[in-house]
């Protein structure tokens, strides 16, 4: 079943919006420190700040006198006001960053198949974050706390599970029991411990999870949080008065955005809306999954080509490849792809020197066949001369077919420049680059996504290592590497990509004209001969 049209339109809209925001942020921060790319790791930073500041605040909190103890923390405990503020602002940052992270995964279609677990566990993490936020606000026991507690009680009382209305605990007959504040504090501490488990689950399908942003961004974030905590410390509302109607109060929109609306409608409506919203989010993996006939297929291993070198096993960003014993008597291991874990990124194809692994139609051999056809079809200009530069474009990069206008729209790649498409920069086999240069291209520019925004996690990183740092399957020494360049630019950054293209051309002008080979024979490494040969 194809994704519903409104959903597909929403995804496109979110993607284009994020692309533009990314582009602006890249201009200021560069892709390494772009906080929008680091939204997931910023959530972890915020959680760490909450943990550290929360432990300090816990020392002074008293369940027998919640408001008074928070007041004492704010006014008397050393640094209490600032640490409380940092705790609150970090909690808000966590919600904002989690929203950006979720939107990015949704827009990029990184939410179905093997990534379903990450999506669903991410939703669980957000839910737990909200439970933490709710209990945290109630702990203060000021006006806002009473509003949240009373509304929570009203919603729970609408469920047929309690024998007596919970709302009576806040009726004013007596102060709320200490047991309530104890339970609240217990949840506020226990839920974050549960979040650690959920976080582990969230990244469990990723081979090399990145949990923290680059050091500069990490400490800048902490520094800015501390600075605003000192400059704009949070204040306290009046204490909760059980026999007063709620007056004007402060509201944290990150955690209480629902409150003004929810208080105006029956509890059943709130539950129905929450359930509908929750169900829609849970169903995203199924709604965004492409139809079966267009679903990218998982990688397969050609046992005859596999030399057991383990490079694909090392490079796979999703731990989808295992090395298993062979049953054909050869004295080395065989790569084996687990289809349930493979997202079909094709990074294994780029890592395999003998070209024995990769998604159907996208392994190294398939790419060589495609590039031969591409040269015959697209690389010859009208006068028969070879073009100066050939662009190899990752589908999601500035020059890629997934960019606005298919990468060739206004401001995109010039129509005269031939473009060889790959699904991901990490899928590109270095032999394709070698083939293009030997065929006479003066230069090959690989257009890749910014590494922190690779839809397949590590494609641009492995690409650079393979082209310039001799990582298997490396670009051979016989290729003049001055004629090869990469540019990292996202879908809304054709200008930056074109600037890199212009600079590359200028550099190529200083080199001698290339000497095209006519009958190119690629030396396929480790190729077997005799009856075991592939073709």
């Amino acid at each position: 079943m194809p994704p519903p049209k409104p959903l597909a339109m929403t995804r496109t809209l979110v993607r284009r919006t994020l692309d533009r925001l990314d582009s602006g942020a890249n201009r200021l921060y560069g892709w390494r420190f772009n906080p929008l790319y680091q939204s997931g790791t910023l959530v972890v930073v915020a959680l760490a700040v909450m943990l550290v500041t929360g432990l300090y605040l816990l020392l002074f909190y008293r369940i027998g006198a919640p408001f008074e103890s928070v007041g004492r923390i704010t006014d008397q405990v050393w640094g209490g006001r600032w640490i409380r503020s940092a705790h609150r602002y970090a909690a808000d940052l966590a919600v904002a960053a989690a929203a950006v992270h979720a939107l990015r995964m949704f827009a990029q279609g990184r939410s179905w198949g093997p990534r379903t677990l990450a999506w669903v566990s991410g939703l669980v993490l957000v839910f737990l974050l909200y439970v933490c936020g709710w209990t945290g606000y109630v702990m203060i026991w000021d006006t806002q706390a009473l509003l949240l507690a009373a509304e929570g009680a009203r919603l729970l009382d609408a469920l047929p599970i309690f024998s007596a209305p919970i709302a009576r605990a806040f009726s004013g007959e007596a102060p709320p029991p200490s047991a309530f504040f104890f339970l609240n504090l217990f949840l506020h501490i226990a839920v974050p411990i549960g979040m650690i488990g959920a976080l582990w689950l969230h990244v469990s399908r990723v081979a090399r999870p990145v949990l923290l942003p680059p050091r500069g961004l990490l400490w800048s974030t902490v520094g800015v949080l501390v600075a605003v905590s000192v400059l704009w410390p949070i204040t306290m509302d009046p204490p909760a008065d059980l026999l007063a109607l709620p007056g004007e109060t402060t509201l944290d929109l990150f955690y209480g955005f629902w409150l003004p609306l929810a208080r105006r409608v029956p509890a059943g409506w709130v539950w129905a809306s929450a359930l509908a919203g929750g169900a829609a989010l849970i169903l995203v993996p199924f709604l965004t999954r492409p139809p079966a006939d267009r679903r990218p297929l998982p990688s397969v291993v050609d046992a005859r080509q596999c030399t057991g070198c383990e490079q694909c096993y090392v490079d796979c960003p999703y731990d989808a490849i295992r090395m298993v014993p062979r049953d054909d008597g050869r004295g080395y291991l065989l790569a084996s792809v687990d289809p349930a874990l493979c997202v079909s990124c094709g990074i294994c194809a780029g890592s395999c020197a003998p070209m024995g692994v990769g998604p159907p139609d996208r392994n190294g051999r398939d790419q060589l066949e495609a590039v031969r056809a591409f040269i015959d079809r697209d690389m010859k200009t009208v006068d028969g001369a070879m073009p100066q530069v050939v662009v190899v474009a990752c589908a999601q990069s500035a020059f890629g077919r997934g960019a606005p206008g298919g990468g060739r729209g206004p401001g995109g790649l010039e129509p005269a420049v031939p473009r060889f498409d790959v699904s991901c920069a990490g899928n590109l086999h270095s032999s394709v680059v070698e083939f293009l240069t030997r065929a006479g291209a003066a230069g090959v520019l690989v257009s890749a996504c910014p590494p922190r925004d690779c839809w397949n996690r590590e494609g641009p990183i492995w690409l650079r290592e393979r082209l310039f740092n001799d990582r298997e399957a490396e670009l051979k020494e016989r290729v003049d590497k001055r004629r090869v360049r990469t540019v990292h630019a996202g879908g809304a950054e054709p200008r930056a990509a074109n600037a890199a293209l212009g600079a590359f051309r200028a550099d190529l002008d200083a080199l001698d004209a290339p000497a095209p080979e006519t009958a190119i024979e690629m030396n396929l490494e480790c190729e077997l001969t005799g009856p075991e040969a592939l073709r």
Binding site: A25, N26, D92, I234, P246
Partner: protein, 177 residues
């Protein structure tokens, strides 16, 4: 060689400026001033809240022989009792306008819980509350279960809640509420 589109942090000043702006936006959204409807409309509230263990009325009789058939000796009851807690009805009127009137729901044999709220215009109002047992067919004990009534003028202040509760002295309006 790799051509980066940008240097590591191309515009540090702009980066800091935007970063601080974003954090300030977070600060602003985290402390939005909000007036709930009650604060805007300037109403008061009548709240009734109490918990009450209704007396249980039972009729007991010795078991009939056929009721003991097949029951092991050590499990044979000496009496079989039927009945349960007395149902109660709550009626609330304000200035002779009935706000609620009906039985208070039971949850098994647990104590009855009353929790009702009503918006009230500020000012003085005649409040009548009756929490009385519903006639119960098994009640042949001759003892009347307790019944409570409250009938008085109550002053409601804007933004305040008048709480009616049931204590040892019967129904009362919590002063200071």
């Amino acid at each position: 060689m790799s051509a980066e589109a940008y240097p590591a942090v191309p515009r540090p000043l702009g980066a800091w400026f935007l970063g601080i702006l974003i954090v300030l936006a977070i600060v602003a959204f985290s402390r939005v001033s909000w007036a709930p409807d009650e604060a805007v409309t300037g109403v008061a509230q009548l709240r009734l809240s109490w918990r009450f263990q209704a007396p249980t009325v039972q009729q007991c009789r010795p078991p009939r022989p056929e009721e003991l058939t097949g029951v092991p000796t050590h499990m044979r009851p000496t009496q079989i009792c039927e009945g349960g807690p007395v149902p109660f009805q709550l009626t609330v009127s304000l200035d002779d306008v009935e706000l609620v009137s009906g039985p208070v729901a039971f949850t098994g044999e647990r104590a009855l819980s009353v929790y009702e709220t009503f918006p009230v215009e500020p000012g003085e109002h005649r409040l009548s509350v009756a929490f009385i047992p519903v006639p119960f067919e098994m009640d042949e004990s001759g003892e009347d279960p307790p019944a409570w009534r409250l009938d008085r003028t109550v002053s409601f202040e804007e933004g305040r809640i008048r709480l009616v509760t049931l204590g040892a002295d019967g129904l009362s309006v919590v002063e200071g509420g």
